[in-house]
Symmetry: D2
Subunit: 140 residues, 4 copies
């Protein structure tokens, strides 16, 4: 990558009615789900689909999640989640997220998640070298 | 069982804020979750816990679900789910549910669910005889 | 519409990881959410968006839901929900749904939902004549 | 309160099957829901029920959430959420959470959430003095 920093992936989604709560806004527990969906999209676009990682006996356990909620989102709005690979280690990776109102610069929420690669027994393990290289290229 | 019909199991639960939607009522997709929780409770009380069934390599696939919504429930209300075993076959079972406002006769929703016993490959299979007998005793 | 029956609306969606359960398949309580999303899409395409109905003080309370689960769906699969308006009354409407594996004829689930139009106090009310006509045209 | 610090509230809950995911563990997006349920319980026990706050036209918007996931929880396990009021300001409050396996010292997750009091238009507002005093007593 260039001096412009890490590659930015975008997921576009529409707020579901079931995701709203009694305040008529997206319930805050849906944002980790949006983030996860954004990681799925990133993994597909980057050629390292999470479904394939699972098929090969790996999983990315969530170790940490941090979210700041700036503005409410409501039913039927289109949102964009911009995701980057923030940090890559031999056994884990950190992603960063910005959730925006689609086609605007209005920031709805921002956050990050830290993951640890685990094997089928749930034990931390190292990324296969080819995957590690691929992830590092995304964060460069 | 006596002429009084099948044994009735009760699960008491409190409506979570996250379960409400933009209409300020419990979103209708939470009722299958309440039903499932009620089956879990039934299975524990009946001495045939679902966690144990899973540990022995079985699962109860959901084949059908039917729900009638009579009155809305709101945040913080206590509900009671009354569950019965309606029908038992060698490879499946049907449960019936009434969701009431706790400590009242106010009926919130009513429904049923039909399940098929499957093995670890997802293929329909027969209940072990002891389980079948136990389930039949509940529905008698 | 022609002799071919009611107009069929399609929603394409991808299974989210959060929607899977311990059986590694889509948890059955997500199908009512898929159906709802399909109704949202139908309402937008038909020019009678649900968000607008809510803005005008109406809501479509769910009165009944029935689902048959035929085959499991798994993480990352693309699904298509085919939705039709099955029946229209002056105070309510029934929708039908087929959930298929995208780009195949593999039927995952099928179902219906019955709705009652309510005003802001939650009381059943009649569709404004223009809406009724629009809904009837879809079901013809 | 004594030198022992803030009052600790406990919510006991059982993991629902619907809360597990394809890794057969509680999906990480359920923890914000557990935290919220724990706040509901705290608010009831402290005599300042959230349902009452809403009835008086206030809401506690979630401004920030941070979670560290230490060990997986699985279906049917009983968990305890220990909640404290960490910080109280005139317009907001921060809660802290420890999620433990019930009847053990096994820590499953730990986290915090920051909230801003808003009025019915969603604008930040000040706690009524009596509420502020009550919250401060809990955090002392």
């Amino acid at each position: 990558m260039s001096a412009a920093g890490p590659r930015v992936f975008e997921l576009r989604l529409r707020v579901r009615y079931a995701e709203t709560d009694g305040m008529r806004i997206v319930h805050h527990a849906n944002y980790p789900v949006y983030f996860e969906e954004a990681r799925s999209e990133l993994s597909r676009e980057a050629g390292l689909p999470y479904a394939m990682m699972e098929a090969e006996g790996y999983a990315m356990a969530v170790a940490e999640i941090n979210i700041r909620y700036l503005r409410p989102a409501i039913y039927d709005q289109e949102l964009v989640v911009r995701t980057t690979v923030q940090k890559v280690g031999s056994r884990g990776v950190t992603f960063g997220y910005d959730v925006l109102l689609a086609d605007t610069d209005v920031l709805i929420a921002t956050g990050s998640s830290k993951h640890v690669l685990v094997d089928q027994s749930g034990n931390p393990t190292r990324f296969p070298p080819a995957w590690l290289e691929q992830l590092r290229a995304l964060s460069a």
